[in-house]
Point group: C2
Chain length 278, copies 2
């Protein structure tokens, strides 16, 4: 197979390396930066660099750009993809992407499937890409009523082949609701946590829990601003939920209400135990 990867950053670069490591497929790279193109060739993450006009020779096109760029690129190049081929994206939000590109690609005879490879690092760019980034990771697909089942079948077998641990299917809306909790809220909390003025005094006091809480505060502000705003309804609901829970704890602690505080902590520990089992 011939596979195009548009955008050779952390995700695109890691996908390219995982394909080269695990398959005999030919990887064709597209990237706006000449340094990145050269690095991808030098590290043999791609077999060749192509122009958009050559997308018509590829069986699968993976768009690994930031959300707004993903939509722009797909719409601008909808006629460049090979009819009958599959186009997937890699964005961390799905409803906005799927709604923006699905119909346009369908009209060009191209099979589109919204995808989200569930892995990342707190760094971005090709330099940080890894051929094993997706080991143990889930590959989420968000088909709609208009999605060709053949695309789901071909892409899931492709995902397993390049090393993903698990393929998961979800609707775009459900994906966005869950991701608001499991990924986006973590980034907002981490970014809020690091802003305590006490951080400056902490040298020597930093245990594992502080490191865990603030790890993802080092983030790409451009990308996360877009992701948050594209999923504002679900993320706002999660923020309301955690602010309410934190306020309950705050009240108990300020008022010395040991009984309620103990119950709230017990409930949290039980939910954590239950969550570990699923």
């Amino acid at each position: 197979m011939k596979i195009a990867i548009i955008g050779l950053g952390l995700i695109g670069g890691s996908l390219a390396k995982a394909i080269k490591k695990n398959t005999d497929d030919m990887v064709c790279g597209i990237d706006i930066s000449s340094t990145t193109r050269a690095a991808a060739l030098a590290e043999e993450a791609v077999d060749t660099i192509i122009e958009p006009a050559q997308l018509c020779t590829c069986d699968i096109s993976i768009v690994a750009l930031h959300p707004n760029e993903t939509i722009e690129y797909i719409l601008e190049h909808k006629n460049d993809f090979k009819p009958g081929s599959i186009v997937i994206d890699c964005c961390g939000v799905k409803q906005a992407i799927v709604e923006a590109v699905e119909t346009a690609l369908d009209e060009c005879g191209v099979r589109f499937l919204g995808c989200h490879p569930m892995a990342g690092r707190e760094f971005s760019g090709f330099a940080y890409s890894l051929d094993n980034l997706f080991e143990k990771a889930s590959f989420i697909m968000t088909p709609t009523d208009n999605t060709k089942m053949s695309a789901v079948k071909e892409i899931s077998s492709f995902a397993y082949k390049i090393g993903f641990a698990k393929c998961v299917v979800s609707s775009p809306t459900e994906h966005d609701e869950i991701i608001a909790l499991t990924s986006q809220l973590a980034h907002v909390v981490s970014s809020s946590y690091i802003k305590s003025p006490t951080v400056e005094k902490k040298s020597g006091f930093s245990a594992g829990s502080f490191k865990d809480m603030t790890r993802v505060a080092y983030l790409n502000a451009d990308m996360w601003t877009t992701l948050f705003l594209m999923n504002s309804r679900a993320l706002t609901a999660e923020l309301d939920c955690i602010i309410k829970n934190l306020s309950d704890y705050r009240r108990c602690i300020a008022e010395g209400d040991a009984e309620t505080l103990h119950r709230l902590l017990e409930e949290g520990a039980e939910l954590k135990e239950k969550s570990n089992r699923t």
Copy 2:
């Protein structure tokens, strides 16, 4: 040297194992549970089990109990410790402990030093204790104007000998302020995070950031209720701070204010980068 450890749970058990691994000192254990006493003997974490009356033969007594029990035990047994010997505690709050026991021990001619070995696990009890729990960890000491410098000197060399990476000195108040951020707030946030109703849907969607955010939600509610209430002023201040920051993000996300959102995220990323350097 002869070292008593009162309470052979996660911390006391790990200290016993670290002493046996790294020194020739004799470890004398005290624990309320016969199962724990037997397990500590069987794993050779202690050389012998003693009665409180035999504390008068020990050069250092390490009280590794929960905060309220620590205060009760020290006050009840203040006449059992050998005059001239050193007593330390291991609690995660310091001002309340130091204020409660310092004078009483001083009047008995016993040198007290408030201590906090900065390590832990989300599990408790001797069964989870490890001889290397304190590798890479800081050993915090909180002397006051009344503390004998000889105790600081002897305990810090003891801490290095058994494997701590770094000894840090702080005042009890400063300790409690910093720990409110680096440890206590992490537990409140984690416990609040796990309570989103969306948690039930998350199977297959859980990336590293969700795991990091909820790791310490599995906690001992008895101990943490006490720790939080003994440090309510500092912890309430940290909660106010993070609730305010989260509310700022919430406003930007709900209103679609991309410019402010981007700035807030950038500030967080810069603070994280700066925090990594110190």
